[in-house]
C-alpha cells in the first residue's frame, strides 16, 4: 500500500482552546430556534391561564372565543380530560410518596397561578391571543397554601384530597447505613464542652430564566408525529410522551433544534408540550406554541426553595464531629419530571470535602400552591454547598481562626484519596490543598485581609468583606445502579456512535443534547485525537431522535464525563473494526500493526494506511478479508461506574457601602479542579456563566409571590437577572487531578461555578458585617437587608427581614386616558 504523506497534525486537539464550530450560524443569525419553524397550514396556540393560586373552576364559556375570526378550536380541561394523561414524574423518592394527578390542562381545579385552563387554536398567533382574551372562566377561590413552613404544618392544604401537604420524607443516617457513627452522640458530646452550631438558612425560590422562551411545534402529518421543542431532553421527552399519550414510541420523533439555554429549566415534560401535541392530533395540522417571557417566568418550573435546619457538632478546637441536616423542600403544586429527587441530590453533598464522622440527613417534600420546582443549575448540590460553607465560616468565627484554616483542618488530605465519605460515596481523587493555595495567591488573600483590617480600623463607611467557599460536587449523572437504588425511573448511561464516511469525513452521534455547551467542538476534539482525523472533518449530530436514536440527554454535568466516555468507546471500536481490514490492505498481521494519529502502520516499516483510505476501501468493499462486514461504524453505550468529583476553592471580595447597604464586587478568584480539560475556552465560559448565576442567587434573584399567590417577579423588571454592568471580570484558574473513573480523566464543569459562588458571596457579605454583630443575611442579600442587618442593634429588624411583596408599578394598567404619553423610560 501507499505511504500516505498527508498525515493529520500530531499536535493533540485535546487541551487546545479551539474556537467553537457552533458559532458561525449563531453570530450571523442563521439559527434554527423552534419558534422559527413555519410549516404549511400551521396553527398557533395561545393559553388561557389561571390568575388564582388555588380555585375551583366552576364554568368556562369559550363560545365567544370559538366564534372569533380564524379560530379553529378551543380546548378546555373538560374537553381533553379522558385523553390528556398525567404529566410524568420519573422520580418517586419513597414507596409511599403522595402526589396529585398533574394534568396538562386543569380540569376542575387549579393549583397554582399560571396553570393552563384552556387553549385557543387559531390560524395565527395574533388571532389565538385575541381569542384567548375572550375565554370566560368562572373560578371559586380556595384557600392557598403559600408559605412553606405553614404548608408543612398542614394549616392550609394545597390539594385537599391528599389530606396533607407532605409528599414524602427521605432519610439518610450514617449510623444506619454503616458509613459513620450516630449523629446524636456527636451532638450531645459537643453540647458538653465542644461547639454546637444550630442555624437555619433559607434557599429562596429561583427561576432558571434561560434566554430562549420555550417553544414547541408538532407536525402530525406523515407516518411519524414530529415534535420540535426547546428542550434539554429530546429522548426523555419522546419516551415520556409515548408512555403517557398513548402513542407508540416508534411513531414519535422529537427534535431539539437550536436551544437557547436550559440550566435545568428545560429538563421537563411540560404541559405546553403535551397540549401542543394534543392540538396537532385533534386538528391534523402542524401546531406551534411559543411562550411569552411572563408565561415562562410564571409557568416554567422554578428551582431551589428550601428551609435548611442545620446542626453542626465540633470539638472546641474546631474539628467537626457531626452534621445533622433537616430540610423542608417546596415542591410547588405538582411533581414535575424529577421534582422530588432534586433536594435528595444534595443529600450526599452536605458533608462536602470534610471528614465528618457522623451524618444525618432528612428531607420533607411539601406541596404549596405555587409553580412546581424542579432542576435548576446545580440541583440540590448548591443548596448543600451553601449550607456547609456558611457553617464552616460560622465555625471559624466561633473558634476564632481564619475561615481557610478551619477548612484545612477538616478537609480530606490529598493523600487520603480514594476516600469513602460519611454519605456513602467514594471520592476517587482530589487535591484541596493545591487548589486552595493557588486560589489564595491568585486572589491576593493576604493583601485583601490587610485592606479589610485598615478599613475596619479607620471606620471606613465602605467595608470590605472576604468570602471563602470550597466545594465538591457529585456530577456525571449517573451510575444506573445508584439511580435504581434511589428509585429513579431510568438509568444514567449514555450512548454514542461514530460513522466513517467514504470521503474521509466522520459523523459523530451523541445521545447528549447540547443547548449552548459547545459539545460539537469538544467532541470533535476528542474524536480528532482518537481517530486521527482533522477537527474540521468531524460533524457532531445530536438532538433528533431519528438521528440520535438513543440517549439520556444533557443535565447534571454529564455530557462530557458520561457522553464523552461513550464516544471514546465507540471510537475505539471503530479502530478495532478497521484493524483487520488495515492488516489485509497492508498484507501484514493485525498483531504487527500500530495505530497512531489516524494511521495504521506496520511496526518497524514505513508501510501504513490512513483511516480515510480504509473507510473508502470499506465503502467499495471490493477487497475485504473473508467474513468481515463492510462497515467501520460503531456504537457504544456507557454506564458510569461512579460519579466524579470536581472541586475548587472560590474567593470573593465585596465592598459594602454601610450607609446604603449597596454591594460592589471587587474581585472574584477561583481555582477549580475539573480534571483534564478538553477545551479551556469552553471550560472558562462554563465557569464564568456559572459564577454569575450563583452570584445572582446571593445578591439579586428571587421569585416572590404575594399573599394571594401571584408571582410578583413575573417579568425581567422584577426578576433581577444581572447585566454586564452589575458583574466583573473574573480570575479563574485550574489545578488538575485527573478523574480515575473515565478514560479522558475529565470531571464535570457545567454546574461548578454556580455551586461554589453563592456561599462565597454570602460569606463575604457576612464577613464585612461581622464587626456590626451580624452573623447572617438572608438571600438575596439586598441592600435593604444588608442595611437593616447593620442597624439591627439599633432596633431595625435583622437581615432576614421580609421584603414587601409588591413590585414597582411601571407597567401597571394606566388609570387615565390620553394624558399618559407612555414613552417613559
Amino acid at each position: 500500500m501507499t505511504v500516505t504523506e498527508d498525515r493529520p497534525s500530531v499536535e493533540p486537539e485535546i487541551g487546545q482552546a479551539r474556537k467553537r464550530k457552533e458559532d458561525y450560524r449563531l453570530i450571523t443569525g442563521r439559527t434554527r430556534w423552534t419558534d422559527n419553524i413555519v410549516l404549511p397550514g400551521m396553527l398557533h396556540l395561545a393559553m388561557v391561564r389561571s390568575p388564582f393560586a388555588h380555585a375551583t373552576i366552576t364554568a368556562i364559556d369559550a363560545s365567544e372565543a370559538r366564534n372569533a375570526p380564524n379560530v379553529v378550536a378551543v380546548l378546555t380541561g373538560a374537553d381533553v380530560a379522558e385523553v390528556q394523561g398525567p404529566l410524568p414524574c420519573a422520580w418517586p423518592i419513597t414507596e409511599d410518596q403522595k402526589a396529585p394527578v398533574h394534568p396538562a390542562i386543569a380540569v376542575d381545579r387549579v393549583a397554582f397561578a399560571g396553570e393552563v385552563v384552556a387553549v385557543v387554536i387559531a390560524r395565527s398567533a395574533v388571532a389565538a391571543r385575541d381569542a384567548a382574551e375572550l375565554v370566560d372562566v368562572d373560578y371559586e377561590d380556595l384557600p392557598a397554601a403559600l408559605d412553606l413552613k405553614d404548608a408543612a404544618a398542614d394549616t392550609t392544604l394545597a390539594h385537599p384530597d391528599l389530606g396533607t401537604n407532605t409528599s414524602a420524607t427521605w432519610i439518610f443516617d450514617s449510623a444506619e447505613a454503616g458509613t459513620g457513627s450516630p449523629v446524636e452522640d456527636a451532638i450531645s458530646t459537643a453540647r458538653d464542652g465542644g461547639i454546637l452550631l444550630e442555624r437555619e438558612y433559607r434557599q429562596q425560590r429561583l427561576i432558571p430564566a434561560f434566554m430562549e422562551p420555550r417553544s414547541t411545534v408538532v407536525d402530525p402529518t406523515g407516518e411519524q408525529i414530529t415534535m420540535w421543542s426547546a428542550t434539554q431532553v429530546p429522548h426523555i421527552l419522546k419516551i415520556m410522551l409515548a408512555m403517557t399519550q398513548g402513542i407508540p414510541e416508534s411513531k414519535l420523533r422529537v427534535i431539539a433544534p437550536d436551544v437557547g439555554g436550559g440550566f435545568g429549566g428545560k429538563l421537563q415534560v411540560t404541559p405546553e408540550e403535551v397540549i401542543t401535541l394534543m392540538a396537532a392530533r385533534r386538528t391534523g395540522k402542524p401546531c406551534k406554541y411559543t411562550e411569552t417571557r411572563s408565561e415562562s417566568l410564571m409557568a416554567g418550573h422554578h428551582g431551589r426553595d428550601q428551609w435548611q435546619k442545620l446542626t453542626l457538632a465540633a470539638t472546641a478546637d474546631g474539628t467537626v464531629t457531626g452534621l445533622k441536616v433537616e430540610l423542608l423542600a417546596d415542591m410547588g403544586a405538582y411533581l414535575g419530571l424529577v421534582t422530588p429527587g432534586i433536594p435528595i441530590l444534595g443529600a450526599f453533598m452536605f458533608n462536602a470535602i470534610y471528614k465528618f464522622p457522623a451524618y444525618h440527613f432528612s428531607c420533607t417534600n411539601i406541596f404549596t400552591n405555587k409553580t412546581w420546582t424542579d432542576a435548576y443549575r446545580g440541583a440540590g448540590r448548591p443548596e448543600a454547598t451553601f449550607a456547609i460553607e456558611r457553617l464552616m465560616d460560622e465555625l471559624a468565627h466561633e473558634v476564632g481562626v481564619d475561615p481557610l484554616a478551619i477548612r484545612e483542618k477538616n478537609w480530606i488530605k490529598h493523600e487520603e484519596f480514594p476516600f469513602a465519605t460519611v454519605a456513602g460515596l467514594e471520592y476517587d481523587s482530589g487535591n484541596y490543598e493545591a487548589a486552595t493555595a493557588k486560589a489564595r495567591e491568585l486572589f491576593g488573600y493576604d493583601e485583601l485581609r490587610a485592606e479589610q483590617k485598615r478599613r475596619r480600623e479607620s471606620g471606613d463607611p465602605v467595608q470590605l468583606g472576604i468570602g471563602v467557599s470550597t466545594f465538591t460536587e457529585m456530577c456525571g449523572l449517573a451510575p444506573s445502579r445508584v439511580l435504581g437504588s434511589l428509585n429513579y425511573g431510568a438509568g444514567g448511561w449514555e450512548h454514542a456512535s461514530v460513522r466513517m464516511l467514504p470521503t474521509g469525513k466522520v459523523e459523530v452521534i451523541t445521545g447528549t443534547s447540547a443547548h449552548g455547551q459547545g459539545h460539537a467542538t469538544a467532541f470533535s476534539q476528542i474524536i480528532a485525537d482518537r481517530l486521527g482525523v482533522a477537527f474540521d472533518d468531524i460533524e457532531v449530530l445530536h438532538g433528533d431522535t431519528q438521528v440520535s436514536h438513543k440517549g439520556l440527554d444533557t443535565y447534571g454535568s454529564r455530557s462530557l464525563v458520561v457522553g464523552g466516555e461513550a464516544l471514546v468507546r465507540a471510537a475505539d471500536k471503530v479502530i478495532e473494526r478497521a484493524r483487520p481490514i488495515a492488516a489485509h490492505m497492508l498484507e501484514a498481521s493485525a498483531d504487527d500493526l500500530d495505530f497512531e494519529a489516524g494511521r495504521f502502520s506496520v511496526r518497524g516499516t514505513d508501510q501504513g494506511v490512513a483511516m480515510a483510505e480504509i473507510a473508502l476501501a470499506v465503502f467499495a468493499a471490493h477487497d475485504l478479508p473473508d467474513g468481515v462486514e463492510p462497515s467501520l461504524d460503531a456504537e457504544a453505550t456507557y454506564d458510569p461506574v461512579n460519579f466524579n468529583y470536581p472541586h475548587g476553592t472560590h474567593l470573593c471580595a465585596l465592598e459594602i457601602d454601610t450607609e446604603t447597604g449597596g454591594v460592589r464586587m471587587r474581585k472574584y478568584a477561583c481555582v477549580d479542579d475539573i480534571g483534564n480539560v478538553i477545551n479551556p475556552l469552553i471550560v472558562a465560559g462554563q465557569v464564568h456563566g456559572g459564577l454569575v448565576q450563583g452570584i445572582a442567587q446571593a445578591l439579586w434573584e428571587e421569585a416572590v409571590h404575594d399573599d394571594a399567590g401571584t408571582l410578583v417577579s413575573a417579568s425581567f423588571v422584577d426578576y433581577l437577572v444581572p447585566t454586564a454592568a452589575d458583574t466583573i471580570s473574573f480570575d479563574i484558574e485550574h489545578t488538575t487531578t485527573p478523574a480515575l473513573t473515565n478514560s479522558l480523566g475529565t470531571k464535570g464543569v457545567g454546574e461548578a461555578g454556580t455551586i461554589a459562588s453563592t456561599p462565597a458571596v454570602v460569606n463575604a457579605v457576612v464577613d464585612a458585617l461581622r464587626p456590626f454583630g451580624v452573623s447572617d443575611v438572608r438571600m438575596p442579600c439586598t441592600p435593604e437587608r444588608i442595611w437593616k442587618a447593620i442597624h439591627a442593634r439599633d432596633g431595625a429588624d435583622d437581615g432576614g427581614g421580609a421584603t414587601a411583596e409588591a413590585a414597582m408599578p411601571h407597567f401597571d394598567e394606566d388609570q387615565a386616558g390620553a394624558n399618559d404619553e407612555g414613552a417613559g423610560r
Binding site: K19, M211, G516, G685, T723
Partner: protein, 158 residues
Amino acid sequence: MSRTTVPVTITVDGTRYTDEVEPRTLLVHYLREQVGKVGTVVGCDTSNCGACTVHLDGRSVKSCNVLAVQADGSEITTVEGLEKDGVLHPVQQAFHDCHGLQCGYCTPGMIMQSIDLLNENPDPSEEEIRSGLEGNLCRCTGYHNIVKAVQQAAGGAR
C-alpha cells in the same frame, strides 16, 4: 373594529420591502414573520433583555418595542446584514474569537448593541462597555467574554 392594515416600506439589510401590516405589529414580528429575518429574536415582553436589538436608521433599538409602522421609511440592519462578501463584521469575529456566546440566543442583540456602542465610543473602557450593554441580558456567559470580545473589536478598529 375594522381589521385595517397600513402600507409600509422598510429597507432591511439593504433590501427594500413594501408590505401591509396591522398597526399593532411589532417591528420584531414584522422582521421575523413577514421579512423572514428570524435571526432577530424575542426574549421578553418588557424591553429588558435586548435580544431583539437591531439598528433603525443607524442606531440601536429594541425591535420588540417599536411598531413596524413607526419604522415606515426607515432602514433596518439586523444581525443577518452584517457579514459582507463572506467576511464577518469585526464584532461578529470578536464574539467568535473570544467565546462571547454559548447558547447564542442573546447574541444577535448583543452584537448589534456592541456595534452601536463602538460607533458611539470607539475606545471604551471596561466600565463603559459594561454600562453600554446594560440593556442586554445574557444567561450563559456571565458577560466576561462578551466584554473581552468588545475590547478585541475596539482594538481592531484602532
